[in-house]
């Protein structure tokens, strides 16, 4: 780290006492770089094993890395906390303006602890922290962000992270929304905010940073900028965005349909990336410091039913994962319907992936008689029918009945109580992302420290396996290697979409300019250590590594690579388990 770099500064905020202080943690950042590497250490320090996720002491940690603010597409923030959804490690990444704002405000990490007596929002402007009364914002859906936006300074270079009703009501898969369209989506950070009476956090700042060699910095910067803007590797994020995956995945039978009962959906072309772009694309935007601009906003025009010639236009961001979870997974084949569902999920402040998978489980459970109309309060879920799904989403957030309170804890919990485990698509208690491409994807979800498709990109390994068969040993090795390298990228914190450009060689060059002299070997070792740190935390917090299984459904519906072989998978599971245990 360059001497004087503000990265080493950790801002602590105590919501109970309304106090804040700053500690300089050189050693932490020098050793673990930033982002995920530093966050897991801070979590270890601040979160004892037996702490309940909704305890005031559960810390919320945000961390950025040395490349944020220096290089393009280093545009993400890592959040860590104990997850109310799984009971163990909660890790979520988001972009928007968060990373640049935290770095420019002069911090490498922020730790928020305690619980405010009344609803509060925290405004961090550089070195100053304000605790503002948020009583009037409590219960508001989308407008809370607008009110904060209008009342606070720092326009243009600030981030506003806020929760919706789902977070306030402690739904275990509630998200935190940033800049209206980005999210700390997974594992329930929104509910942790809610449990602290924390409605929002605003961060603004403006700083210059230093580099070791300015000339070299400018050269490397423009080289990277050029590659990110021109390279074929970035094209798909750039043009249609991630929804470009819908058709190819559907063609290869890799997109889950109707709770993975099927792998084909008639009419899927109506919810393809191409269709969304043609019919709805209203604007494209970017996270701060990213030239790719993969964020696609759809303009949905909605008529007022009771009054002629009155319309409203809402902007909604759509992505592959949303089209999967709130589209194909529910048998929906109209793009408008997907958008209508996205709208309510946004308004409530829920994780879109978990919500979709929960709705899919409810639908199948209903059809199979595992649950009935008494539980759903008269709602009859039906594949492809959006209105009942919209109603269900509101019920999950607002209803006080036992059933809805149970599904509000995710389907691992609900299926243990009502039955239907065989078709509960969860991995370490987290709901399934949208790739049924083969064993790699599923093992990736299971063993990624945050059970996300972005952990080890198992689907990419599956794609490889289409042309060259892999043994369980090879598969396990590939997953582990990718996971460990990704610990580095998420410590820097680089958007994974830029991963093909930020090769180890480039990363080392960038780090050098930020004052970190590391060899490739040292870097990989650090990645391994971070991964081990995460697993150590998970296991101590109750993650059951001995009994990891995949949902039965996974083996019943053919994937892109055909029916997934159980023996093969369980062999790989055993290998992965042993490998991870040897790291600890």
């Amino acid at each position: 780290m360059i001497k004087g770099d503000s990265l080493k500064r950790v801002l602590y905020i105590d919501l109970t006492k309304k106090r804040f202080w700053i500690e300089e943690r050189d050693e932490l950042f020098s050793k673990y770089i930033g982002g995920a590497g530093v966050a897991i250490k801070l979590l270890e320090e601040n979160c004892p094993n037996d702490l309940e996720p909704f305890s005031p002491d559960n810390p919320i940690i945000f961390a950025v890395g040395p490349l944020n603010g220096l290089f393009p597409i280093a545009s993400k923030t890592v959040a860590m906390f104990k997850s109310p959804h799984t009971g163990n490690l909660g890790e979520s990444h988001a972009g928007g303006r968060s990373a640049i704002a935290i770095r420019m405000a002069g911090y490498g990490a922020i730790v928020i602890k305690g619980k405010s007596e009344r609803p509060v929002f925290v405004a961090i402007h550089g070195d100053k922290v304000f605790f503002r009364d948020a009583t009037t914002l409590w219960g508001l859906e989308e407008s809370a962000g607008r009110i904060i936006r209008n009342r606070e300074g720092g326009a243009g270079l600030r981030t506003i992270m806020r929760i919706g009703p789902a977070g306030e009501r402690l739904i275990s898969f509630a998200c935190v929304t940033l800049e209206t369209y980005r999210h700390f989506g997974r594992l329930g950070l929104g509910a942790v905010f809610g449990s602290k009476n924390l409605k929002a956090v605003l961060i603004s700042g403006k700083k210059d940073l230093s580099v070791t060699d300015f000339k070299e910095y400018r050269n490397l910067y423009s080289e990277l900028l050029h590659q990110l803007s021109e390279s074929e590797k970035m094209k798909k994020y750039h043009e249609l965005g991630t929804p470009t995956n819908v058709l190819p995945l559907s063609f290869s039978k890799g997109i889950p349909v109707k709770n993975l009962l099927e792998n084909e959906l008639k009419g899927i072309e109506n919810i393809s990336g191409e269709k969304f772009a043609q019919k709805h694309l209203g604007r494209r935007v970017a996270c701060a410091h990213c030239p790719v601009a993969c964020i696609h906003l759809a303009a949905l025009r909605k008529a007022y039913e009771d009054e002629p010639y009155f319309y409203r236009t809402v902007y909604l961001s759509y992505d592959y994962e949303l089209i999967y979870a709130l589209g194909s997974m529910l048998g929906i084949t109209e793009s408008e319907d997907v958008l209508k569902l996205i709208e309510v999920v946004e308004d409530m402040g829920l994780d879109a992936i978990s919500t979709g998978v929960v709705l899919a489980w409810i639908t199948e459970a209903f059809k199979k008689g595992v649950i009935n109309q008494k539980q759903t309060e008269g709602i009859i879920p039906e594949w492809g029918k959006v209105d009942s799904f919209i109603e269900l989403v509101r019920k999950i957030v607002y209803s006080e009945t036992e059933f809805y309170k149970d599904v509000a804890r995710g389907i691992d919990y609900a299926s243990s109580k009502y039955g239907g485990k065989d078709f509960a698509l969860t991995y370490g208690k987290n709901e399934m992302p949208g790739y049924h491409t083969g064993a790699g994807a599923h093992l990736g979800y299971l063993f990624g420290a945050r059970h996300s498709h972005l952990d080890s990109a198992g689907y990419a390994i599956d794609r490889e396996a289409m042309t060259k068969k892999l043994s369980p040993e090879q598969l396990a090795e590939k997953i582990l290697n990718e996971e460990q390298w990704r610990q580095i990228l998420s410590s820097l914190v680089i958007c994974f979409f830029g991963r093909e450009i930020y090769t180890p060689e480039i990363v080392i060059k960038c780090l050098k300019l930020a004052g970190f002299n590391l060899t490739e070997e040292e870097l990989l070792k650090t990645g391994r250590e971070i991964y081990a740190n995460k697993y150590r935390f998970k296991i101590k917090a109750g993650f059951d590594i001995e009994n990891l299984t995949l949902p039965k459904r996974v083996f019943e519906t053919p994937s892109s690579l055909g029916l997934i072989n159980k023996d093969f998978v369980y062999k790989a599971i055993a290998l992965l388990k042993e490998n991870i245990k040897s790291l600890l």
């Binding site: 603010g69 393009p72 209206t180 700083k207 910095y217 604007r283 494209r284």
Partner: protein
């Protein structure tokens, strides 16, 4: 196809309204701005800095990202209010538009920043001095979406 036509019309309209600018950088179509801030980062670099503080160009959302962004850049006024506001005569009006900073005269009072209603002057906190656009065009050249155009006259 239809959509493109619309865009074209839009572009024309903007160019017509902007063409009386003297400065080499002008904002051609801020509706295309994605808010990536690359222009701000590269402007800082043009001023030998990494980060955002030393950037003269500003990108702001127009009240929520769905409304898009506006881009503010020095228009190289012929009779620049920033120079007029400077009590130390530290800003010299440049031939062909814009101003130059005579750093040794500047006391860091910040009147110039307040006088520029486009907010097109940056600030270097370390030096406690303004950062004035040098009309280098780095911002326009680095913008991935060609929101700005750079014409050297």
């Amino acid at each position: 196809m239809k959509k493109q036509k619309y865009f074209f019309f839009h572009l024309q309209f903007k160019i017509i309204t902007c063409y009386n600018f003297i400065m080499p950088v002008f904002v051609k179509d801020s509706d295309k701005c994605v808010g990536c801030l690359i222009c701000m980062f590269t402007c800082a670099q043009a001023h030998q800095a990494a980060g955002l503080e030393s950037s003269c160009i500003k990108v702001r959302s127009q009240g929520g990202i769905s409304r898009g962004f506006s881009v503010w850049v020095c228009r190289g006024c012929e009779d620049p209010p920033c120079a007029r506001a400077c009590p130390e005569d530290a800003l010299i009006v440049r031939k062909g538009g814009g101003v130059l900073l005579k750093e040794e005269r500047c006391t860091g009072c910040g009147y110039c920043v307040k006088a520029c209603i486009l907010d097109a002057i940056g600030w270097n906190n370390e030096k406690n001095k303004p950062v004035i656009c040098i009309q280098c065009g780095e911002c326009a050249k680095s913008c991935p979406y060609k929101v700005m155009e750079f014409v050297r006259k």
